[in-house]
Subunit: 307 residues, 2 copies
DNA sequence: CTGTTAGCGCATTCAT
DNA sequence: ATGAATGCGCTAACAG
């Protein structure tokens, strides 16, 4: 265009206060520039920072992120996602909160979707979001401190992340058992992420026949610590415990919780980047910054009766 | 319409798989059916359940809730809100995360907005969302247990809720001072909602010249408890402490935290109901269910040296 | 009560 | 390099 024309245009824009109309654009192009984050009706613990990071990435890519709260089982959420995509309201869906095992049924029209903490094709990305390797590190570290019998209080097994941690727990125990005399699992108790589940796991146990607990998260760990105290056991004097999440309160509790810090923002960013890459038919760039980090604090120490 | 026509129509809908097109609807009517929740760039503690409840209410009212993360000072967020409303992208804006004191500048076109935890006209709704009366109840209860000198570790004073609690703290102390010999404030320390701020408030104090702490929230309270322990003081033996929020970890900590439970979902619901009422030009229904509730647990007890 | 019609503001194609 | 013309799918207003 001629510079003169471009200037004339700019003037007109200024004079009339012109702004492109999203609705007309959408109608004409057939692309809504909307992506939808679907949250289960029962959300409680899902971190806002993850959601916010996803929204931020969406915004930077020119998309608007809508939040839809859908109650009921995961099949209903899948249904809703299919509707959103088929109706053209939304170009892509991000499933948050939990990751149903069965995956997502077909029939998604032209849209794309990503299940948070679970990447479907070729399982790429699992290494980022559902990474459970810190569990292995925790067990190794505790073994060095003399611990031999480990209890795992797991999260609900329909969460990919909870499943990954449980599997890593069992695999790591099995691996070390070959090398280290007497190292074994004292069992896996499946809880529901709640402090109560950690409390119950310890309180209802006949005998405390372990010296270390790998808890599903810091909240569960807190429940377990309390139950141990009520049985007259000290942390870490008698039992060591490792949580997950690095909650602020865990840093200041007594004892402060050893835990796995998780970069929530990085998780949200990665998930949305993946969705947007899918929408554009590009390859998602794999961030190589680890999103988890094991932190040793006061709740872990030498196993009792260790020379 | 004739039942015959209605049937003929239904058949056609089924046959063609007709679904109304949102974009066309928006273009034609000029109403986007979108409301936007604006989150500051630095969100950390804002509860997802509040956001989810707001989204749920929006959905039920036929609106789509979008999330926009806007970094920078509150003026920038206000600017962005103005753009969203002026461009017609969004019909209403809900400011979340913090509530800048200065309020929101004019120039909002035809849109409506609601600042979370702060209702502007006639100050209705403040009673619901920024209600600080539990602080008064806590002080009264502690006074009955013999406490006379109270410290308040407050939240940042650009949060309406933090300001309301501070003011209620001072007012309640003044009120009781008239009746009860020796009852007084040991001071207000303004923090930033962090555990560190609670820790510092106690750790940096020359002398522990109080027997009760009203903390901005449970996280702050946790920091304060830790600092007290490090000074060799027991909770509640030497100092009683009350938090705010009823975090799950606080229920299982030792000592478990006395606190003010807040119905996060109710807060999100109320805020969005208000926004939607504004959009429709109706009066918002005032829910009369209280959103806060004082809970006494182990972190509070009789003042030391009380007969 | 039903059938017809005219734009909403844009992107795209075809003429200049 | 610019201008003019055609729908996208709907709603509202009107005609039958």
């Amino acid at each position: 265009m001629k510079p003169a024309t471009i200037e004339r245009l700019r003037e007109a824009v200024d004079a009339l206060g012109y702004r492109p109309d999203f609705a007309a654009q959408t109608l004409r192009t057939g692309r809504s520039s909307v992506v939808t984050a679907i949250l289960p009706g029962s959300v409680t613990g899902f971190p806002t920072s993850t959601l916010a990071a996803a929204a931020e990435v969406a915004g930077e890519a020119g998309y608007h992120m809508e939040v839809a709260v859908v109650a009921g089982p995961s099949t209903v959420r899948a249904q809703r996602a299919a509707e959103l995509l088929a109706s053209g309201r939304s170009e892509g869906v991000l499933f948050l909160g939990d990751s149903p095992d069965g995956g997502v049924p077909a029939g998604y029209g032209s849209g794309a979707f990503v299940v948070f903490d679970q990447f479907d094709d070729k399982l790429r990305g699992v290494g980022q979001l559902a990474d459970a390797t810190p569990v292995a590190d925790a067990i190794s570290g505790l073994a060095e401190m003399g611990h031999r019998r480990f209890l795992h209080v797991a999260g609900p097994q329909d969460f990919v992340s909870a499943r990954a941690r449980r599997e890593t727990f069992l695999a790591t125990i099995a691996e070390h058992a070959a090398d280290i005399e007497g190292l074994e699992s004292a069992g896996v108790i499946v809880g529901d992420w709640s402090a109560q589940s950690g409390y119950d796991a310890v309180a209802q146990r006949q005998e405390i026949d372990f010296t270390a607990i790998i808890a599903a998260n810091d909240v569960v760990a807190t429940g377990a610590v309390r139950a141990l105290a009520e049985r007259g056991l000290r942390v870490p004097g008698d039992v060591s415990i490792v949580g997950w999440e690095d909650r602020e309160m865990g840093r200041f509790m007594s004892p402060s919780l050893s835990t796995v810090a998780v970069d929530r923002r990085a998780q949200g960013r990665a998930a949305m980047l993946r969705l947007i890459a899918l929408l554009r038919g590009e390859e998602a760039e794999q961030a190589d910054v680890p999103v988890t980090r094991l932190i040793w604090r006061e709740s872990t120490g030498r196993a009792p009766k260790f020379p």
